[in-house]
């Protein structure tokens, strides 16, 4: 058997282990940390989506807030204005994010390199400004709270409320697990291998006969759809939508989380997101200029570990990590 299949038991065990770990943590940690972990799982889902494009295809976007916010608003607004139950709102949001990212990909992927960065950012800013412009509907900067519109999730015989923190936690866990396992599947699938080939040497991949544009569009759409799913989960779990979540900061965040944890690793985005969210929480308790602290920490980490934390670990010790 070839090495690609040899270590898969181990790889799968690690990934299932991460999910199981999150599941068990809810029974161990105090409520404050459970709430932190809920947030981390939702935002890690966003980073996982982002990483498909940055880490596995080699395309750096500065406009993913657009997709995160597409999911966020699609879920939030459909709950508020159309009274959709949470899961239906989630599905609608995923669908709209897929359409939105496919359309945006079709346009932005005509550019490359720094132009791609700029074009994605510009579209995302347009989206952000649109959410502000229609503030009568979206609630603009202040945003809207979903709490009194959120219907229970019905699970056949019984139903659960998303306002319950344990439900929130496990809802976030399921969303996260879906994205996480999807990214693992992708790295081992024929598509994923071609995406890596494009990241490594686009010209050669094309001369092998791969339609680069088609594959990039597929990656862009998968990435945007998962980002949108994360946005929808955010709206539903935290019962809030607001245009700050569509701002450029939310395009930069997944980039930083992914780089810190390790672009092109399945686990990196989770470590990066978790670490950053705890660092921000910790430093904002001590100093008001926490963003500077965050920036400096990040620079040091990225300088010390250019491949990111998990990337460095993989390079040195665990070569079999996907």
């Amino acid at each position: 058997m070839h090495a690609a299949n040899k270590g898969f038991g181990k790889v799968l065990a690690v990934h299932i282990g991460v999910i199981a770990g999150f599941f068990i943590l809810q029974f161990i940690v105090p409520p404050f940390h459970a709430a932190m972990l809920t947030r981390i799982m939702v935002l890690a889902t966003y980073a996982i989506g982002y990483n498909i494009l940055l880490g596995y295809t080699g395309l750096m976007s500065l406009g993913h807030a657009m997709f995160f916010a597409t999911g966020l608003y699609a879920a939030g607004l459909s709950v508020i204005y159309y009274g959709l139950p949470p899961l239906e709102a989630l599905l609608l949001a995923i669908l709209l994010s897929a359409v939105m990212s496919a359309a945006m990909g079709a346009i932005t992927l005509r550019t490359s390199g720094v132009f791609f960065l700029i074009v994605t950012m510009i579209f995302s800013q347009v989206f952000f400004l649109t959410t502000l412009y229609f503030n009568v509907i979206t609630g603009g900067e202040e945003g809207l709270v979903l709490t009194r519109y959120l219907k229970p999730i019905s699970l056949g015989l019984f139903s659960v409320e998303l306002t319950d923190s344990a439900v929130k936690y496990n809802f976030a866990l399921i969303i996260f697990a879906i994205a996480f396992l999807f990214s693992l599947w992708l790295t081992r699938s024929p598509v994923g291998r071609v995406l890596v080939a494009i990241r490594e040497n686009e010209e050669r991949a094309e001369m092998l006969g791969y339609n680069i544009y088609k594959y990039k569009l597929l990656a862009f759409t998968m990435s945007g759809t998962i980002s949108g799913m994360a946005g929808a989960a955010y709206a539903l779990a935290f019962a809030y939508i607001g245009s700050a979540l569509a701002s450029i900061l939310y395009s930069i965040n997944p980039l930083l989380w992914t780089l810190l944890g390790g672009a092109g690793t399945t686990i990196g985005p989770i470590i990066g997101t978790g670490l950053m969210i705890y660092i921000i929480d910790f430093t904002s308790g001590i100093t008001t200029s926490y963003l500077i602290v965050v920036g400096v920490t990040l620079m040091l980490l990225v300088l010390a570990f250019p491949p990111g934390i998990v990337g460095a670990i993989r390079r040195r010790w665990l070569r079999w990590l996907p």
């Binding site: 070839h2 699938s189 071609v194 490594e200 040497n201 050669r204 094309e206 001369m207 092998l208």
Partner: protein, 249 residues
């Protein structure tokens, strides 16, 4: 394809201008199925530019390219590769950070997965078998797990050719495959080219005259963007024009 001489590739008045420079000037060229044709010519003659237009890497300024009776002038490079026109770069071009195995498997996968569903599923067993066969053929089976960029130069060249051959091309274009190789490696690559030629048409750009004379039955000479001579090795060796170009008279 039932034509008398069975032309696999033809170019008509094919030209390429880079700004003011006419790198390829109105080239009419015909290649028969099963040929092993060499293209020779001094540096800057336009050889790479010419075959790059055939592979689709460079768009022509004017002229046509016909492959198996089909006008492919406007076709994208990846579609031409899918049709069987495969190009290996003058400068070694492999996935340096991926393993030798992964390199070859990317090429094999492309051939196995030519259907629509193929991008999500390939028969992993078959893939592995074919990759292994290619690795054996290029003699890199023991280096399968090695990072491609860490291979010795000659082995990188073999891998590069291996990628092309894994695609099972109808027309294989080799752009100076001997460049930078040691004598024994040249023999190795020559043996491989001969073996490949049994199944397919080959267009070989090469500076090493000894290699050209040994491999090709027909030689095309380019200079300053044009074809200045074409014929058997003996004819070319006796050609005054060619001697002028090569001796700089």
């Amino acid at each position: 394809m039932a034509s008398v001489d069975d032309v696999i590739l033809e170019t008509r008045a094919l030209s390429k201008r880079f700004g003011g420079l006419e790198a390829v000037r109105s080239v009419d060229f015909r290649l028969e199925r099963g040929e092993l044709r060499a293209i020779i010519g001094p540096n800057g003659a336009g050889k790479t530019t010419f075959v790059s237009m055939i592979s689709g890497r460079i768009r022509p300024s004017s002229g046509r390219i016909i492959f198996e009776g089909r006008d492919i002038t406007k076709m994208k490079a990846h579609d031409r590769a899918g049709m069987g026109i495969v190009y290996t770069f003058q400068i070694i071009n492999i996935f340096r950070n991926l393993s030798v195995y992964e390199n070859v498997s990317l090429a094999v996968q492309r051939r196995l997965a030519s259907g629509r569903a193929g991008i999500f599923r390939v028969d992993e067993e078959e893939l592995h078998r074919e990759v292994d066969a290619i690795l054996k053929r290029i003699g890199l089976r023991d280096a399968a797990e090695q990072e491609a960029g860490s291979l010795p130069y000659g082995h990188q060249r073999l891998l590069d050719i291996g990628l092309a051959l894994a695609l099972n091309p109808k027309l294989l274009i080799l752009d100076e495959p001997m460049q930078g190789l040691a004598i024994n490696e040249i023999d190795e690559v020559m043996r491989m080219i001969r073996e490949l030629h049994r199944e397919r048409t080959i267009l070989l750009i090469e500076h090493n005259m000894q290699v050209v004379l040994e491999l090709a039955k027909k030689i095309t000479v380019m200079d300053k963007g044009s074809i200045i001579a074409e014929g058997t090795p003996e004819e070319i060796e006796g050609n005054i024009e060619v001697q002028k170009v090569y001796l700089g008279l």
